[in-house]
C-alpha cells in the first residue's frame, strides 16, 4: 500500500522583532500579517506590542495571545528593578516559553525606540541568549522611501550588527509612502544606495502599498484588515459609507495585498532563509 505523501510543514523562525526609528511606516500592519501567517501554518503565536497606551486595543485579535507593554513605562524604567529590561520582562517571559510550547513570538517595537532596543539587546546579550535556548530569531528593520527613514534604518542595521551580530537581520521596504524609485543622484537614491550597502546580503522584504488607500479607509472606519476581509460586502459598504461595488473593490484590493505579503513573508521567515542574515 502506498503511503500518502504529506506536505512538509513550513518551518518558520520562532521569534520575530519588527522595529524602525521612524513612525507610520507599517510595522504594526506587518506584525499583524505575520501573526496571521503563523496561525495559517498551525503555530500558536504571541504578539508583544510595545506601544503608547492611547493605541491600546487597536489591531488586537491577530494573535492567539496579545501582550501589551505601554511605552510610557519606558520613562519609569529607572525606578524599576532591572531598569528597561524589567519593563520588558513580559516579552522575555513570552520568549522563554517558546521551547516549551512550540509557539512563536512577534514583537512590535514602536517608532523612535531604536536606541532603547539596542541598549536592551546589548544588556541581555540577546542573540547569545536566544541561541542557548535553541530559539531561532529574526530582527526586521523597516524603512519607507523617505531619505530620513532610510538613513535611520542604515544606522539601526549597523547598530544591530555591532550589538547582536548573531541575530539574523532583515530589511523591510515598506511601500506605504511611495515606491523605492527615484532619479539617479537624487538624495533618496543616494540614501537608498547607502542603506543597501549597510544591509549587504541580508534578506530584503518588499511590502507593497495597498492601492487606492483601501487600508487607510478601513482603518479610519475602525476596521483592521482581517475584519475588513471577512465582512460581507453590504456590511462593509455600510461601515465605509460607499456603494456595495466599491466595498467589494476595496476588499479585493486588501486580499491581493494579503496574498502578496504572505508569500513574501513565508519565503523570508523560513528557517533556511532566516539564517542568511547572520554575521559570522
Amino acid at each position: 500500500m502506498k503511503t500518502p505523501k504529506t506536505q512538509p510543514k513550513t518551518d518558520l523562525v520562532d521569534l520575530v522583532e519588527i522595529g524602525s526609528d521612524g513612525t507610520a511606516i507599517g510595522k504594526s500592519t506587518l506584525a499583524n500579517r505575520i501573526s496571521h501567517l503563523y496561525r495559517e501554518v498551525g503555530r500558536s503565536v504571541t504578539c508583544v506590542r510595545i506601544e503608547s497606551s492611547r493605541r491600546r486595543g487597536q489591531d488586537a485579535g491577530a494573535a492567539d495571545t496579545d501582550i501589551f507593554i505601554p511605552l510610557e513605562d519606558f520613562t519609569t524604567a529607572a525606578t524599576r528593578t532591572g531598569g528597561l529590561v524589567g519593563v520588558l520582562s513580559p516579552m522575555y517571559e513570552a520568549a522563554m516559553r517558546i521551547p516549551r510550547t512550540g509557539g512563536a513570538v512577534i514583537v512590535d517595537w514602536p517608532g523612535g525606540t531604536a536606541g532603547h532596543r539596542l541598549e536592551v539587546l546589548a544588556a541581555t546579550n540577546f542573540d547569545a541568549t536566544l541561541a542557548s535556548m535553541g530559539i531561532r530569531g529574526m530582527s526586521i528593520v523597516m524603512t519607507s522611501c523617505s531619505a530620513e527613514h532610510m538613513a535611520q534604518a542604515e544606522r539601526y542595521l549597523k547598530g544591530l550588527e555591532k550589538v547582536a551580530p548573531n541575530l539574523p537581520r532583515a530589511l523591510g521596504l515598506s511601500g506605504r509612502n511611495g515606491p523605492f524609485d527615484w532619479p539617479v543622484q537624487s538624495e533618496q537614491a543616494e540614501a537608498f544606495a547607502r542603506l543597501k550597502t549597510a544591509a549587504g546580503d541580508i534578506p530584503q522584504l518588499r511590502i507593497p502599498l495597498v492601492a487606492g488607500r483601501a487600508l487607510q479607509v478601513c482603518s479610519d472606519a475602525g476596521l483592521d484588515i482581517a475584519s475588513a476581509l471577512m465582512l460581507p460586502f453590504d456590511k462593509l459598504a455600510a461601515r465605509l459609507g460607499v456603494h456595495v461595488f466599491a466595498a467589494s473593490a476595496c476588499a479585493s484590493e486588501l486580499a491581493v495585498w494579503w496574498q502578496r505579503t504572505g508569500a513574501e513573508l513565508r519565503k523570508m521567515l523560513e528557517v533556511k532563509r532566516a539564517d542568511a542574515g547572520v554575521t559570522v
Binding site: A62, R213, L229
Partner: protein
Amino acid sequence: MPVSPSRLQERVAYLVRRRRWIEREAATFVLDFYRRHRRLPPAYVTLLLPSGTVRSLRLRGEFGHLLRNFNRFSRIMMTRAIDRCRGRQDVGSQDAS
C-alpha cells in the same frame, strides 16, 4: 476573537477570484458613478482600470452632462418660442375680430 485561519484563507481566495469580475464591471460602475455624482469613485475602484480608460470615461461623463444641459436649454427655448408664437397669433386674431 481571532478569525479562523482557514476561513480567512478561503475568503481571501474568493476575493481574489471575484476581482476578475469586479475589473470587468468597473468601467460601467465608474461611468454611472460619474453621471450621478459628477466625480470619480474612490481610488481603489479607479485603479482597477487603466488611467486612459478612466480619463475617457470621465470625458464621456462630462459630454453626457453637457448634452443633457443643452437638451434642457433647447427645450426651454423651444417652449418660449412656441409661447411667443401663440401670443402673436392671439393678438392677430383679436385684431381681426
